[in-house]
Symmetry: C3
Subunit: 383 residues, 3 copies
């Protein structure tokens, strides 16, 4: 009988042990799969945001170098900051890397508003000022740091805390920084720079599902991914239609930018919306964004006396806010009060610290000429 017992227990124990190992392997596999998404997001940061900004004709070298520097300053800063807050810096996991990449994405959005009007070292200062501001907002909104958001906040793919935050911070800084001379300097593209910017746009479109699904549990991934692609299809189609309708001809800048608005807006609801809702959110976001680029951009410039070089307020700002508001109607059990509070707090922190950061950055130098590589780069062809 004792033999039985021991056999029995051996059987159970062995089973348990083996399962323990396999469970560990399964969870390390699941973590590893986050790794693939982390790489996809890095492609969005460098090739995506980087090349999207190359549309400015004679400023391509600068835009790409700035992208490299902004990412290289944001990742270590965020990881150090996160270690100070959460501890355990000896073993940083993929999840924390992804959160750092989210911060870098938001920073690149902010930089898009200032593109071409600050010097290279000022992008570094922007990064150093931005990351703590971003982490403060993240702490208030997602970690409920001030106790304002007890009933939760829906923003899986970062419509509010990544996109709207970055855009508003950038617009704030642009208000502080834009010189009157820069307001009158035209921002021009050409055949070549437009095609380069489409590389960026397409890279963002392709990998957007990995951005939104980066930290979503495995079982929610298929729904999330398909929602994101449907939202992007919606915004792409409507961007073409509205661009022609408003302007008479298609603007490739509308296509390169507003086609992505569906991705921005679906962020807040990507793991909760039904597929048709996702398509609809994309359609509306694309319409908002295209109208922004085709109609509002010039008005914003005059109203704010500020230039938003890449139009981030129209790609990331308005569609991001729209996406956050839609969550109130789409995410089950979400408190409208909490969502609205979170959005309001984000707007205040982003605009306020953006305005402040712009002032600080302006102390560190001034370009002679906007939107030109030649001032800072060697070996630039003179046209």
């Amino acid at each position: 009988m004792k033999i039985f017992l021991s056999l029995l227990f051996f059987g159970i124990a062995a089973g348990g042990f083996a399962q323990g190992n396999i469970s560990t392997e399964v969870s390390s596999i699941l973590e590893f799969q986050q790794y693939d998404r982390a790489i996809h997001i890095m492609a969005m940061l460098l090739l995506g945001f980087g090349f999207l900004m190359v549309f400015v004709k004679n400023y391509g070298r600068s835009a790409l170098t700035a992208t490299f520097l902004l990412v290289s300053v944001a990742l270590p800063l965020y990881l150090v900051g996160s270690t100070l807050i959460h501890g355990d810096g000896s073993k940083v996991e993929i999840q924390r890397l992804i959160l750092a990449e989210f911060g870098a994405a938001s920073l690149l959005i902010a930089a898009g508003a200032l593109l071409g009007r600050i010097k290279m070292h000022q992008y570094l200062i922007l990064g150093i000022l931005f990351v703590p501001a971003y982490m403060l907002n993240e702490w208030v909104i997602l970690d409920n740091g001030l106790g304002l958001l007890k009933s939760g906040f829906a923003d899986t793919g970062g419509s509010i805390v990544i996109h709207a935050f970055g855009a508003l911070f950038g617009v704030g800084a642009a208000i502080s920084l834009t010189s009157s001379k820069a307001i009158d300097t035209p921002i021009t593209s050409d055949d070549s720079s437009d095609r380069f910017s489409m590389i960026g746009s397409m890279v963002l479109w392709i990998f957007w599902p990995s951005f939104c699904a980066a930290l979503v549990p495995a079982e929610a991934i298929p729904m999330t991914v398909i929602n994101v692609f449907l939202a992007l299809c919606g915004s792409t189609l409507v961007t073409y239609l509205l661009s022609v309708w408003i302007r008479g001809k298609i603007s490739i800048a509308d296509i390169a930018n507003a086609a992505l608005a569906g991705g921005v807006a679906i962020g807040a609801t990507c793991d909760h919306a039904g597929h048709l809702t996702a398509l609809l959110i994309g359609l509306i976001a694309g319409a908002i964004s295209t109208t922004g680029f085709a109609v509002l951009q010039e008005k914003q410039k005059k109203l704010l006396k500020a230039v938003d070089t890449c139009g981030v307020s129209n790609l990331h700002g308005l569609p991001g806010l729209f996406g956050g508001l839609v969550a109130i109607f789409v995410v089950p059990g979400l408190s409208a009060g909490a969502e609205l509070t979170g959005i309001a707090v984000t707007i205040i922190i982003a605009l306020g610290l953006g305005l402040f950061s712009g002032k600080v950055i302006s102390l560190f130098g001034r370009r002679v000429e906007a939107y030109s590589d030649a001032e800072e780069f060697a070996d630039v062809e003179v046209e």
Copy 2:
């Protein structure tokens, strides 16, 4: 004794339950891995097919916008169609997304034949006409919809149902659509457009294994992947050799296109061929395709009175048909009759509905000038 029994059953049940959970996790992991391939295929659709078509010198903005629109119309259409046929649209899985991407790939191939000779909204009409035609062929061939193919059809990577179908549909439409003026309009590239098209070519090359292995069971993936890469190596090497040999100098258009013919041709046999066979299939496919571009292209134009802008008949048509025929000798247990029937049906549906669709598309407008962004895009430089 009862204690034993319960312990025993508890042991078994617990084991079974835990394993059940792990099995679920394993299968969700396996589905998730399809997700990575779905993203890779999306890179092929936008960056790959999109930039490959940028070789046309003054038509880059249009080619990229058309790519965006074709993908954005094909994915939702296919998913809606698939829901109507198979039901359960509330929860679309990654597998269905991949099938939709396959349809979009075939559509982009078809569009490559017409590139530059239709207006932007006509690409949308092309997409709306193409997707049902593609799904009809898919239903007849892969679901054995008409009962013609009881003994199966080998086409894992879509040599026939994706590549040859798209190419033949496109050629059919081109026959209906090509104006006599367009036949005489030269299609030119330049230093810049050629380099952009190589981005597309390389993106397709890199991710081709994910296309062919997208829906293959996990254990067949290593063999499939290595077969695809070997076929691509074969076609790349032979393309260079034949391009020099036939033309005297290397044509970068041959390199950008025919180098991919191995990927097209290996599709039908990618999970069955031995590695040497795969290399050989690539070599022959590359030879067929390069000969097509260097010798047949001009003859096709005169014979059919139709322009195939991207030479899809030589990249996707002939190598696809070759790959499908090779399957008869390579795939164990495959019925030659069934394979030939499937190929014949595909040719008939593709050409027939392509001719018809071309007629319909021609009712919706006519370009003033072929291969030029300026007609439809704002802010285009005039040379």
Copy 3:
């Protein structure tokens, strides 16, 4: 009682069997995850190395075609060679594909030293000579083929056996091959070629963690990945600072190249270094590489009477050697003697066989003009 016994054994056996299946699935999942990294590495080979070399103004078609050919000759050659040595060519696994890709990466580095001064078929000859040399070194160092390295060699990400080996082989061949006319021919870039080369640089940056972690066990992946990104952040930041400091203005060639030096140098210690150490290694490697490009490059040219077109000695050579030496202080239990022996052997084999291969390659033709597509490509614009 017998019922119990059988039940009991059935329970254990069933558990074991099911676990066996799951274990198999888990390990096939782990192998599959290597597949994703294999695809990432392929992106580095074609888009990464390929476009990085497009910086040479009128040689873009050639650089990209050469990249295609070098990869297409290296992969099958390595796989055939590996089958001859290790047997079992009927079922090549992903791991062997990754090793073949490593060889192709090293070959592309070597080719970067010769870029623009050999004809297209000579790149093929380079590949045919390089792969056996590379495999010889791999056998001596990693398989301890000569019994020299009994106590192991640290080089997970290939600082020595991939990067330094390729660079030294290339420099060796360049010494044998460079004509005095080529020494005086300037290598120029322009706005367009510089932006294309940044595509390559960014693709390499993005996927570098997959290169270093390609064959690392699952549990070491997070640490490896974050180390690689931190090293790249370090080299990117220091490259900008030093480029401005040494040259007065930023050189985009420094940015495109030296920013990657952190990835080269962290290779040897990527799975052992702490995160701060990784950042520091990146900072130093970036400083070494930028100094190389800004100061040493011209001196090397005069000293060696050889042109290293892409500066591979400054991107892959010096940072690779630095990374290998650092391993002595970072990797626990590593024998300094073994590491130094491995480095010395690599230097001797690479330089020796590089010099020899250069002589052989020079027997197969001579370019009329360096760094120009027009000599070998049809339809090239004449400036």
